[in-house]
Amino acid sequence: MERQWPTETTDTTAPIGQTIVFADVSVVRDGAIALRRVSATLTERRIGVVGLNGSGKSTLLKAIVGLVAPSEGTIAVDGRDAVTEARAVRATTGLLFQNPDSQIVFPIVGDDLAFGLKNHGVARAEVGDRVATTLERLGIARLAERRIHELSGGEKQLVALAGLLVIEPKTLLFDEPTSQLDLKNRNRLRGLLADLPQQAIVASHDLELLADFDRVLVIEAGRIVFDGEPAAAIATHIERSA
């Protein structure tokens, strides 16, 4: 089941990914235990995370990019510590937040994509091309000069995703990516997800989205209670949530 992914590639369709290792990780947030002794090695191309609200899904994703520090244990992304080497980890790992309005910083679409590139030290001469290519790739080149507050929810979600893809990460973390989307945009995101060469870890209540993934973790009260094939994981989640 476990596979190693190439770390460098020139083929844009070849799978890209990283090895993410949780070693006995516990996280305490606001005085409550959000993750309890989580151990897992994540290498697959498509990994789902399911669980009830407050079960620890978002905390698990945030911990990978060092936004939440473990109170015990360590998280390593391709051998780099998620907390002490957070900058390096964030250069290869993008997190798509549940609400795109929280993620988009600049008022104009193109400027927002350039923000991420500037943060990661991309040369000014490259920025325009990379922004245009990324918007084109997602089919939203027409939005380049648009103001964020004029966009629909689905368009904002695509712009937020473009803001991650433009830095060419190896791994994408999605926190409830379909929760604010209508059916059309949900299907569109599903199609995009299927085509992305990057490794993706998706926390979602949308069980249909995760059905053809390589691996699904079921989280309950901060613990991984099931880790395996999607069909069995979804059945376990439904049974335990009843």
Binding site: L67, R87, V105, I108, G116, N119, H120, R124
Partner: protein
């Protein structure tokens, strides 16, 4: 006012570098506060209106953008006039009108990214003295522009939800949930900014 910010265009003002526009605005503003001739100030105000309209924004949209600040200027003028100082009113009103239209022309023709970069470059000497983090100050300016419409939208949602539950419009009933929402949003935004790699790598080529 936010609607017109950083609009794309090809007018001479759009083509002028942001630094030149901001420096020009600063110089004109300083000169305007030295000049005390109502006729000269009125002529400058008329020129400023012409400059703002040259951006292609249109008369109706410009009037809509500036309705609130122009109302405030009119109120200030009326108060000065009411206090019996018509000469001061004749200077203050055209001076503020000129500044409003010129500042609006600058923001209409300059993208937020350009403004932030210029702001950051302008603050760089203070950063070298250890007085300020120019990158963070520029980001603060950007966030203010980005989130004004979002906060207005959230206020509207709260007001509609309260109206649907039969609550009459009261400032306190609006402000408390709005502040809570803004604080929650601020925490999420801070996380997102961190996750996107801010602050920039100082060794960058940008």
């Amino acid at each position: 006012m936010i609607d017109g910010l950083g609009s794309t265009g090809t007018t001479p003002l759009h083509r002028l570098p942001a630094g030149v526009k901001l420096a020009g605005l600063a110089v004109i503003a300083t000169v305007l506060f030295v000049v005390r001739e109502p006729m000269v100030l009125t002529a400058v105000a008329a020129a400023a209106i012409a400059v703002a309209l040259s951006t292609g924004r249109g008369v109706a949209a410009t009037a809509r953008d500036l309705a609130l600040p122009l109302g405030l200027v009119a109120a200030i003028g009326a108060v000065e006039w009411g206090l019996g100082d018509g000469e001061v009113a004749a200077c203050v009103v055209p001076r503020l009108v000129a500044l409003l239209f010129l500042a609006h022309a600058v923001t209409l023709t300059t993208s937020t990214a350009e403004l932030a970069e210029t702001f950051e470059a302008g603050l760089a000497p203070f950063e070298r003295l250890g007085l300020i983090d120019a990158g963070r100050a520029a980001l603060t300016l950007t966030l203010a522009i980005r989130f004004v419409p979002l906060i207005v939208e959230e206020a509207r949602e709260i007001r509609e939800a309260q109206a649907a539950r039969g609550l009459s419009i009261r400032p306190t009933a609006l402000i408390v949930p709005l502040v809570v929402r803004v604080l929650v949003r601020a925490e999420e935004v801070a996380d997102a900014i961190d996750a996107r790699g801010f602050p920039p790598n100082k060794n960058s080529n940008m």
